[in-house]
């Protein structure tokens, strides 16, 4: 899936901006959808310090401009 496309090699400024914006996002990989029972403490450990395995995506529910994750 990953093409040999990089920020520096792309001629379009719009695409370079997008690549910079999404650079910090986690890679696509198979994820588990199995229901998992967690405590509040376990959820807290998974709170963002950058991205985590169980990352958040709620910021885009309404498409808000200043997403709370590093971009």
């Amino acid at each position: 899936m990953e093409a040999q496309i990089t920020i520096a090699s792309v001629k379009s400024g719009a695409i370079r901006g997008t690549l910079q914006r999404i650079a910090g996002r986690p890679p696509i990989q198979p994820i588990s959808f199995s229901p998992r029972e967690v405590t509040r403490e376990e959820m807290a450990k998974d709170c963002k310090s950058g991205y985590s395995e169980n990352w958040d995506n709620y910021d885009d529910y309404n498409n808000f401009p200043d997403a709370p994750y590093p971009e």
Binding site: M1, S9, C47, K48, Y58, N63
Partner: protein
């Protein structure tokens, strides 16, 4: 299913995110394509203060860390500014850990006043405004109760927001008639040249229930989506402004580049949300499913939120939604798509994504265009 102090997560998110319909279906507009069109939108009940307080208290007790509360409707501003002041008051009261609480509101923009704009600015609400495009597109379906188009009122609301320093994110609902190349170009120019927006998200209209006589023939098909997004993609490339973000293009490029998407219907996180209606009714995913009485998982006025979210009915629903059709496992783009929005699936919410063909075609198209726009000799890793 579990003990008192745990919660069952069913999506690849660390918490479950609420969408709160503060006035139920009540709205001051009658958009032809609204998914509440079968409901009586003339009556509404603002969520009671005790219910609001119960929700904020229990939600903050259950979920740690940064949280985001999405205040929706109907038209949420019909709840009145006092209701929103109460939201902030309850958040202060129960946010003992002083963590970041993000409030977002999705509005049609027509009720925004200087007072509302100042309030949103003061308390740092994210504001999303629904705009369908240039006036002839927007006002065709987005009408006030009396039948007049809402275009000027919505734009006035955006002006007021901007006067306080808020740059709203725009959500465009796209019907088939706005996917023609000429109309798409006109709307693209309106958004990015005339209105000067920087953030656009696109919702595609599909009359799932086929019960809406006002929009017969307006449901999009895969070809329509491909045509529109190719037009936007090429317009976006030509404009070449790195500050303009079109959500769907972000996800297409992200998918090609092997990055996970940030939106529910591209990342398989439908059941990472729940919907709380004004009367306390809780649904197991976002507000788009809140016309489905068969999906109700509880009522917050009668039960604790934890008990509702941990209910077997919610978990069973999640497992249905999260099970993709077998054909998806053969698809190159599965991990960038996850079978799309559960609302737009054959035999919703369990079947194949209705716009599967569009997704595949668009990923292939964007992959090819990125390759064409890349200088082959360089290979610097992002």
């Amino acid at each position: 299913m579990n003990g008192k102090e745990t919660i069952v997560l069913t999506a690849p998110m660390r918490i479950i995110v609420p969408v709160i319909k503060v006035v139920g279906d009540l709205c001051n507009m009658r958009c032809s394509y609204c998914f509440y069109h079968l409901r009586d939108q003339t009556v509404g009940k603002v969520m009671s203060s005790p219910l609001l307080e119960k929700f904020v208290r229990e939600y903050l007790e259950i979920f740690p860390g940064e949280i985001c509360l999405n205040w929706h409707g109907g038209e949420p501003l019909l709840a009145g500014i006092r209701f929103f002041e109460e939201i902030v008051e309850f958040e202060k009261k129960y946010n003992c850990e002083k963590r970041l609480i993000r409030n977002t509101v999705q509005t049609n923009g027509t009720l925004i006043t200087e007072k509302w704009a100042s309030f949103f600015r003061r308390y740092e609400f994210g504001v999303g405004v629904s705009v369908d495009g240039a006036e002839r597109t927007h006002s065709r379906f987005r009408k006030m109760v009396g039948g007049k188009g809402s275009f000027l009122r919505t734009l006035h609301g955006i002006e007021l927001l901007r006067s306080t320093g808020i740059e709203p994110a725009i959500i465009q609902t796209v019907t088939r008639s706005s996917t023609g190349v000429a109309t798409a170009r006109e709307n693209f120019a309106f958004f990015f040249e005339e209105l000067g927006i920087k953030q656009l998200g696109i919702n595609f209209f599909h009359d799932v229930t086929r019960t809406n006589d006002d929009v017969v023939g307006e449901s999009v098909a895969s070809d329509d989506i491909v045509r529109l997004l190719k037009t936007y993609f090429e317009g976006w490339l030509a404009r070449n402004d790195s500050h303009i973000r079109i959500r769907e293009i972000d996800h297409l490029i992200g998918g090609v580049m092997g990055k996970r998407a940030t939106t529910c219907n591209w990342s398989g996180s439908c059941t990472g949300f729940f919907c709380l209606d004004a009367d306390g009714t809780v649904y197991p995913s976002c507000d788009r499913m809140s016309d489905r009485n068969d999906l109700v998982i509880g009522n917050l006025s009668k039960s604790p939120l934890r008990e509702i979210l941990n209910s077997r009915k919610r978990v069973d629903y999640a497992q249905k939604v999260n099970t993709v059709p077998s054909a998806c496992h053969e698809c190159k783009w599965l991990l960038a798509c996850y079978n799309g929005c559960a609302l737009h699936r054959e035999e919703s919410p369990v079947g194949r994504y209705l716009f599967c063909d569009a997704r595949k075609a668009l990923f292939e198209y964007v992959e090819r265009r990125l390759t064409e726009l890349t200088v082959p000799s360089q290979s610097i890793v992002t």
